[in-house]
């Protein structure tokens, strides 16, 4: 207890202010980078973590995918991330495309590489096909294992609080 009191007494107002500003700068730059990525890649979530094993052995749980989205048409074979109104988006491969002549809208069917059946049963509100508007991006790049931190923090939120608490403590008690 004495140690905490000492720390509080020896920090002057200016020091606290400068620490608060540095913290604000770090948070702002992180936000700028994130929003910048969203703009460059054209996707609402430019980086996603693979949560299920339905694309094994290509993508395992805990890998992260880099997404990119543009006006190019969706074609068979592309790995897409879609969300048709569900809790978590799904990363699967397009196996059928029927693109209409006049409207350029397309009916799309997807399937996970490791799943025996296509995703028709998964689509919300008994849609037989997926539409382009539900697709958030195409996977263009991949890094293994990096997403495990996010999975651990989601499954055991206590770890998230411990990490945040420790970070907060570090910021308050550091003397520069």
């Amino acid at each position: 207890m004495g140690w905490i009191e000492e720390n509080m007494k020896s920090t002057h107002f200016r020091q606290i202010l400068s620490q608060a500003i540095s913290l604000g700068m770090v948070i702002s730059s992180a936000l700028i980078i994130w929003k910048g990525l969203i703009y460059i890649t054209g996707s609402e979530s430019p980086v996603v973590v693979v949560l299920s094993g339905s694309m094994e052995p290509g993508f395992k749980r805990g890998d992260i995918l880099f997404l990119y989205m543009n006006k190019d048409p969706i074609r068979a074979g592309q790995i897409v991330v879609f969300n048709d109104g569900r809790d978590v988006p799904i990363v699967h491969r397009v196996i059928e495309v029927h693109e209409q002549r006049d409207s350029k809208e397309a009916d799309i069917l997807t399937k996970g590489d490791a799943n025996p059946h296509d995703d028709r049963m998964l689509y919300t509100s008994s849609n037989r096909w997926l539409q382009r508007k539900y697709i958030m991006g195409r996977a263009v790049g991949f890094l293994p294992y990096v997403g495990w931190l996010t999975i651990i923090m989601t499954d055991k939120p206590i770890i998230k609080y411990i990490l945040l608490g420790a970070l907060g403590l570090l910021v308050i008690t550091s003397k520069e």
């Binding site: 052995p57 290509g58 993508f59 074609r75 068979a76 074979g77 592309q78 790995i79 491969r93 196996i95 059928e96 495309v97 029927h98 693109e99 209409q100 002549r101 009916d107 590489d113 296509d118 996977a139 263009v140 790049g141 991949f142 890094l143 293994p144 570090l170």
Partner: protein, 167 residues
């Protein structure tokens, strides 16, 4: 760089940066590879060709697929995902792509192969436009790397057509 915390911070930042650079270089090295794949698909038999109760045409066929995709593998390749898709157009749709068969090639030794198979996935049209129609069979491949950028390409083989009548 005097306290344990400082040193740990510096070490962690440096190692993460180095790892990221190594992954980027590994991915860039894939661009040095110039692949020369070959493929051939023969339709051995149209097993049946019917109109479903809902009005959509469905066909079942048996194919001989042979390919040599060994030149696509690099040291940074984890696996190759390949699939055969039938592509054709109809009055209502400017493009239809239906995947008939796919496979995962885990290593270079397995990339030169020959397989006799019927279509793994059902070939169902949106409508009943298939009688007498010409279509292409395309072999697509997706190179999935150990880290980094994914590549995809295809070989289009044209000149296939459906029978004039249901059977």
């Amino acid at each position: 760089m005097h306290s344990f915390g400082h040193r740990l911070n510096g070490l962690l930042t440096f190692s993460v940066t180095i790892l990221a650079i190594m992954c980027a270089i590994a991915s860039l090295s894939d661009n040095l590879n110039t692949p020369s794949p070959t493929a051939d698909i023969k339709i051995m038999n149209i097993n049946w060709f019917q109109k479903q109760p809902q009005g959509n045409d469905e066909v079942s066929l048996t194919m001989n697929i042979s390919a040599d995709l060994q030149s696509l593998f690099t040291w940074n390749t984890k696996q190759l995902f390949i699939f055969v898709a039938a592509e054709y157009e109809t009055p209502k749709n400017s493009l239809n792509q239906v995947s008939l068969w796919d496979a995962i090639i885990p290593a270079k030794e397995h990339a030169k192969f020959w397989i006799h198979t019927s279509n793994k996935y059902r070939f169902v049209d949106q409508g009943n436009n298939l009688r007498g129609k010409k279509f292409n069979l395309t072999l697509h491949w997706h190179v999935m790397p150990k880290t980094g950028k994914m590549f995809a390409d295809k070989i289009v083989m044209a000149g296939y057509s459906f029978p004039e009548e249901y059977r």
